[in-house]
């Protein structure tokens, strides 16, 4: 990076790309050229910075200036003012929401202060399509070290000592898994990277593959060396076109550099990677289902044992790890197991990436040491709840997880603590909910998801999730009975105990984790036919308060079905037969004249 005086990093993650960040890159290059500076300033399209809420993001080095919500037409002023004259563009700087103070250096942002970036170390720093940049940040050094200075056994020992546990949800010790695969003798073994990322609302694996694909490629080769496999497979969702493209590119350049293929670095070790595509089935994230899918069949799980480490892809020993798990490997080998295990809690070492989303100010991707509390994540890094509303719950672990509430805010986040609280780490989705979110509806949302995604192979899951979601629908329509609430509990327990795979076994968690804590809310739906959060449309009515309505007509213009009538400057009324309860008028009225009951 040395020949340039300055660097402009423009976010090329999915979020920012969809708000036109490619055009920003082009415009900046254009204006640099006009000012004869194209050789002094380097412009890079990087992976996600994590701060997607305020995208598109443009960062300028070496002064760490962090511009937010940049539009393509802002390129001109950034070049002319900042890059030419050295004056920061005040209006594009990030302002801390509480103090409204502009932040000049991104290191001082609350969002980044408590973060620690290990798996995401290169995301937002390098051009993912350029292998030289990865190499310049110690890329492929860990592979070199493993191949020349370490035996497969010492690599495994180091990973074991680091305490790294799988980031795909289960939290199984990675070194131990490698050891099993290593010990099973076979003529052919496989390394599989699970990039199926099924949790709807989690996007860390995608961001790693988009922002730093080489870290995964390198780690898979290291794993291949450790377990004695010379073939790697990445199973990735077809819905991730950008990640696929960057991964393909990374594999291609690694081959050109002799870092994949035959006789890597002249050590006699062969390893290559092939990409396999998923086709939109959540259950294919489960490792046995994933293997069946890679073999070209229906992605139905099978009972374990045998584990993939004994009999996996085409019956051969196969080691399956998650994207984020792999992304940690090169750092562990370079900085050492002791360094890694000094981070985190007693039984959960290192960091964890979370996708923070929902009713939170700073939606985005964050990485924190294990043991950070939910409060720090939600209020310090996440900037608290949107629109000053009250925090109600945070859902972790996706469809297999549960809801944590106010009382859990000071719990240090790690695998075991989350399990003990009736939720789980899962892949790291974290959805924040406020007082307007209805818990039976949230449970219904997840159960509809699992009902839809159940592969149908075993009855408890196929029929059980359907029954659960039917009962929840009844409740949210105000037609539930107290008996239904009991059934929810007992049925949930039965499914948990008898389903064949992880999908079914964890499917009832969204119910179980809300029904106790939010019992009153469930009961209100049943006994009073009332939704305390005001979300269940079947139980709602929108009404205009005569005394408050000034007749501004805003509501009648926004109503999609023409349910609101009234003359200018006189009270408006809603025709309840026509109203479809979309809530548009409620959001529009500036005079709080519309109420939801």
């Amino acid at each position: 990076m040395s020949k340039y005086k300055m660097h402009v990093l423009v976010c090329g993650g999915t979020g920012c790309l969809s708000s036109n960040s490619s055009q920003i890159v082009d415009n900046i290059k254009k204006y640099l050229k006009e000012n004869g500076m194209e050789n002094d300033v380097q412009v890079l399209k990087t992976g996600c910075f994590g701060f997607c809420e305020k995208g598109p993001i443009v960062k300028i080095l070496p002064d760490n200036t962090f511009y937010v919500q940049v539009k393509p037409e802002d390129a001109e002023i950034i070049v002319k003012e900042h890059l030419v004259k050295g004056r920061k563009v005040e209006r594009l700087l990030y302002k801390e929401p509480l103090t409204n103070k502009s932040i000049e250096d991104s290191k001082h942002m609350d969002f980044y202060k408590k973060q620690m970036r290990v798996a995401l170390r290169n995301c937002g720093f390098i051009d993912p399509d350029n292998i030289d940049e990865y190499i310049a940040r110690d890329g492929y050094q860990a592979l070199g070290k493993a191949l020349t200075e370490m035996t497969p056994e010492t690599v495994i020992e180091e990973v074991k000592k680091s305490g790294l546990r799988g980031r795909g949800g289960g939290g199984f010790p990675t070194g131990l898994k490698w050891e099993f695969a290593h010990k099973n003798k076979a003529d052919q073994k496989y390394v599989v990277c699970n990039a199926d990322e099924g949790d709807p609302g989690a996007f860390m694996d995608r961001s790693i593959l988009e922002g730093d694909p080489h870290s995964v490629v390198e780690a898979m080769a290291i794993c291949g060396y450790a377990i004695g496999a010379n073939k790697g497979l990445v199973y990735i969702r077809a819905e991730y076109p950008l990640a696929i493209q960057r991964l393909r590119n990374a594999i291609k350049s690694a081959r050109e550099y002799g870092l994949l293929g035959k006789d890597i670095l002249g050590t006699g070790f062969d390893f290559d990677i092939e990409i396999k595509y998923g086709a939109g089935a959540f259950v294919c994230g489960e490792e046995t289902a994933l293997i069946h899918s890679m073999e070209g069949g229906r992605g139905e799980p099978t009972t374990k044992p045998p584990f993939p480490a004994e009999s996996g892809f085409w019956g051969k020993p196969t080691n399956v790890n998650n994207v984020e798990t792999f992304a940690n490997i090169p750092v562990i080998l370079l900085k050492g197991a002791d360094w890694f295990s000094s981070i985190g809690t007693e039984k959960s070492k290192g960091t964890k990436v979370f996708a923070l989303a929902g009713k939170i100010n700073n939606v985005g991707l964050i990485e924190v040491p294990m043991g950070t509390t939910l409060r720090e994540v939600i209020f310090d890094i996440g900037g608290g709840i949107k629109n000053g509303k009250k925090f109600k719950a945070v859902q972790t672990g996706g469809p297999s997880g549960g809801c944590l509430t106010e009382k859990d805010l000071d719990t240090p986040i790690d695998f075991d603590n989350l399990l003990a609280k009736g939720s789980m780490m899962g892949s790291g989705g974290m959805i924040v909910m406020d007082e307007d979110d209805c818990m039976p509806s949230v449970a219904k949302f997840y159960l509809e998801f699992t009902e839809d995604e159940s592969c149908g192979k075993c009855t408890p899951c196929r029929v059980g999730t359907k029954r659960l979601s039917e009962i929840l629908t009844k409740i949210t329509e105000g037609k539930g009975t107290m008996e239904d609430l009991q059934t929810l509990k007992t049925l949930s327990q039965t499914i948990k105990d008898t389903a064949l795979c992880g999908l079914g076994q964890t499917a009832p968690n969204p119910v179980l984790s809300t029904i106790e804590t939010f019992w009153d809310e469930y009961v209100a739906h049943v006994k009073e036919h009332r939704c305390p959060a005001g979300q269940c449309t079947a139980l709602l009515q929108y009404k205009i308060l005569e005394e408050k309505c000034i007749g501004c007509t805003a509501c009648s213009r926004v109503c999609p079905v023409g349910a609101i009538s009234g003359k200018v400057k006189s009270t408006h009324v809603i025709d309840q037969d026509k109203c479809i309860k979309c809530g548009a008028c409620y959001d529009k009225c500036k005079f709080s004249a519309i109420v939801r009951q």
Binding site: F203, A238, A279, A355, P560
Partner: protein
Amino acid sequence: MANCVSCTNKLSEQGFQKLEQFIDELDEKNGALISVLHKAQEIFGYLPREVQQFVAKKLEIPVSKVYGVVSFYSFFTMIPKGEHPISVCMGTACYVRGAEKVLNEFKRELNIDIGETTKDGKFSLDALRCVGACGLAPVVLIGEKVYGRVTPDQVKSILKEFE
């Protein structure tokens, strides 16, 4: 996927030739079914019975196995998509920020349900899960175009862009 769907609806001879070439060039036919189906859907836009039969014959497997796989995966579709396929993100982040209301509004405006295509073949409607732009929730995709922070009352004007 960038193919214009309406011109590929008629299952062209050319399409079959392309698919045949793809299959013939495979290193390994064993286990290739899903990648072949991805290719076929890219060429034809959807996977009607004729295409499934063709794939079965070429890979020397029963049609029932092909059908079993096509019906298992939600990415594969047996009905042609509209000229402008609409996908509403129903991932959790979008859901808690009101995606369901947006979806309902599309259903109402177009008078179709999820998985259906309008009679004139112009629009089709799908729900999908997390497109990775949660910061912009709720998110709607129309073709390749991404709409962020969509509210129900914007639905009408968004659809107008395609008229």
